[in-house]
């Protein structure tokens, strides 16, 4: 399926935009949202990415690289927006019920807050690796870094996230591995 879509994109076919939307809109918006943390900006990134790819499809030399190419466009745009809008206060998170302030839900919320607190590119690496399931090499390619840099970023990020998770008192996973 991806090969057919890639072929349409490379030919600049009108229906390629529809195919990109159906196949990739959810994933791209998910990646964008986890980086920019604003659903409207995420939707803009998604639309921007699909339209850019549709218009610039001839730049896609390797059909197998379509997904990675889209994720690279989306990630770069999301990072760009987030850098420019580092001033915007983000509140689209769930409230933690006080009755569960030390339970699993609180631990997940703490983990989410810790992800948001990661340096921007480190957060992007986490999102691409753990949400989009890109390999370390693909994450490196997407972010324009070396694989060793990404490995290091992921290692540091996991350390911070484990620590934040453990602070709440739920040590179910902290003691493992």
């Amino acid at each position: 399926m991806d090969a057919r879509i890639a072929d349409m994109v490379r030919r600049g076919a009108d229906e390629a935009l529809d195919a990109l939307y159906v196949r990739y809109a959810d994933e791209i918006q998910g990646v964008a949202f986890l980086i920019v943390r604003d659903r409207f900006d995420a939707e803009d990134v998604m639309a921007d990415t699909l339209i850019s790819a549709w218009r610039g499809g001839r730049e896609l030399r390797d059909p197998a690289a379509l997904r990675g190419w889209l994720l690279r466009i989306a990630t770069n745009r999301a990072l760009s927006i987030r850098r420019r809008r580092r001033d915007v206060r983000l509140v689209e998170t769930l409230e933690v019920p006080t009755a569960d302030s030390t339970g699993p839900l609180a631990a997940r919320m703490a983990l989410l807050a810790a992800i948001d607190d990661l340096p921007l590119e480190m957060r992007a690496a986490v999102v691409l690796h753990y949400f989009a399931d890109l390999t370390v090499d693909d994450v490196a390619s997407t972010l324009g870094k070396s694989p060793n840099t990404i490995k290091s970023q992921l290692r540091v990020a996991l350390g911070r996230l484990r620590a934040a998770h453990a602070e709440i008192g739920d040590r179910r996973f902290h003691d493992v591995g």
Partner: protein
Amino acid sequence: MSADPFETELRDLLRTESAAAPVQMSLADLRARAGKRARWAWTARPPAMRVALAGGAFAAVGIALALGLGRGQRPADVGATPSPIVSPDSSGSQAVPSPSPFVLQPVGTVVIARVDGTVVTILNQGPSAGFGGAPRVLGTVHVPAASPELRVEPDGVQALGPNGDVLLTLSSGDGETQVRTSVLVKLGEIVSLDRVVPAGHGTFAPNGTLVIADASTGTPKLWVVDRASSAGRTLAVPADVSTSGRRPILTTDGTGIVAVRPSGPDGTGVEDIILGLDGSVRPMTTATSIDLVTGGERRFGLHGERLGGGCDSGGATGGGCVSIVLPLGAVNANGTNITPPGRECCSSQIWTPDGKRVVMLTGDEIWAWDASGINKVGTLEPDVSAANPTIVGFISQPLFDYVLIDSDVGTTAVAMDGASMRTLDGTLLSVVR
């Protein structure tokens, strides 16, 4: 894929979290956006413009750096667990009004902002001597001297909040590279990026909550910003609703703003509605009370009359434009023509706060209409007349009423007796009521 339970938990968490922002844009909307080539026309722009726009992006970073926000830094509360939003429909926010840090002069005085490069002075001026008396200084705001590239444009002061917050727009760069950033700053303080807010037209509710309408991006938004922490939430503006305008007009109870949307069977008409700060949309009726800031916000006459108008394109008479008052429920054909006799179409017109009169600007002349007829009430001086004047407010005074006109040279108060006109040394923010 790792079998580490923590990493499994992390993957699950990210997927759950991403589901909080599902794709709501339809394929038709996406196609429409692609067709418009508006925000996505980057690659289609001439190279020179691309360079200029890129310069703008660098200038935006420059603003952050100039105010001490390094590339690796972020404001302490960005991304942190939010403080509760204090919205106008929150009983808590209504119950605890913000104490005002300053005392304004009596009803009928004006609050104006005077901009001198990097210094903003907020003044309160009474009508004595036709607004020619000495104003009282409420406070000043300074842009850091270490940021010489930053400035405040004459129209860069948007609003003064009841708790001393000033909504300010900073500029950097020029022309197509100009970047504008909005900040909240307390009177008497130096601007910093601790309280940056989204760009757009903003106003304060009486309880200090800031509402910003941002129609500049692909997805129009409404931002509601907590008065204390600057934490905010966003609302998507429905696709057929427009919030564009000079400044949002709030309802008196602070639960929504005035907006418009197409009406009529062919969608060519426009109707006023209330866009709730909870995302709801409801009709605006004659019973809807709105918050008067400058006195030019009223949308209906006292008995529900509407202002209308239109132009015809010629014929034997050469065509022309008319302003009309429509009784409640009437259509254009049944309106009263209030166009000043022998004059051109009005470039600007407002209802007075009592809803009994319409004040109009045609050419350099100010006219007023009420049930008794149409009268000329003043003539603008040439420098104001040539500076894109717009009627923005109205003050009722025991002796004279004043029409307030914004132009490129500032705000001008014109007495309704036709005898005096005074251009204030600043831009109008509000009229004390």
